[in-house]
Amino acid sequence: MENNQKSLNKRFFSYCLYPDIRFETYQPGENIILLLRAHPFTQVHWMVNSIILALILAGLNFIMPAFFNLSQIFFFNVFCVIFLLSFIFYNFIIWYFNVGIITDKRVIDIDFSSILYKQVVVTRLGEIEDITDKSAGYFESLFDYGNVFIQTAGTQDNIEFTNIPFPSQVVEKINSLLPENHESE
């Protein structure tokens, strides 16, 4: 096992040091330093929506007996509960699988922006030209999350980690991994 360092998880597994994971383009001998996901606070909106949907369903159950029979009401409730759970699961896997990975050799951005769209961007540390972190807003300052933008050389795709925890620490970590003769801001 290449990662001998002890794993440390912060902010509900959205900031994981030395995680025990593997990814699609993993190379044997590569040390995985950091795994990043969107800050949990940015996921509150769909959790609130789920609660509201559950309350609406509960309220509809007082009205439906006037229009539908028992089997219809039963089906409607079963369908709505399963739909609600699917909604929660969908949002969870979108958050869970949208990750940024920093190794001792590369930076990888895995994006599943919708369930059917997958993009994996890989950049070697030596090809990083510029790193910018941005954290603007009340909640961003309160919970310390923001965006890290990594500009790469030439025609390669740039990498952006959005709404990640501790963006300045992430920039610091990447800078510490850059080759000695390669400096960025």
């Binding site: 990814f23 539908f68 029979n69 039963f74 079963v78 369908f79 699917s86 990750v99 895995i110 997958k118």
Partner: protein, 76 residues
């Protein structure tokens, strides 16, 4: 006269509900099949300790969609 018109209206509501139930259940079943396939792709892209649980939940979702379709066809 009033009773028979009420009876007809209940039949219409019941018929529309049945059609809608079968249609939505079928669409949901197709959705869960796509999600299940994509979860497989996601698990291969990023392998973590939680992957078996995610795959299990996805499979349960497909099974639930299938049961829902059966309920829509035979019970509603």
């Amino acid at each position: 006269m009033n009773l028979s018109s009420l009876f007809e209206s209940q039949n219409i509501i019941g018929t529309f509900f049945k059609i809608a139930a079968v249609l939505f259940a079928l669409i949901y079943l197709l959705y869960t099949l796509v999600i299940n396939k994509q979860v497989d792709v996601m698990n291969k892209t990023l392998t973590d300790k939680l992957d078996p649980l995610v795959a299990l939940v996805s499979s349960v979702q497909v099974a639930a969609a299938f049961v829902l379709f059966i309920i829509a066809v035979f019970l509603v």
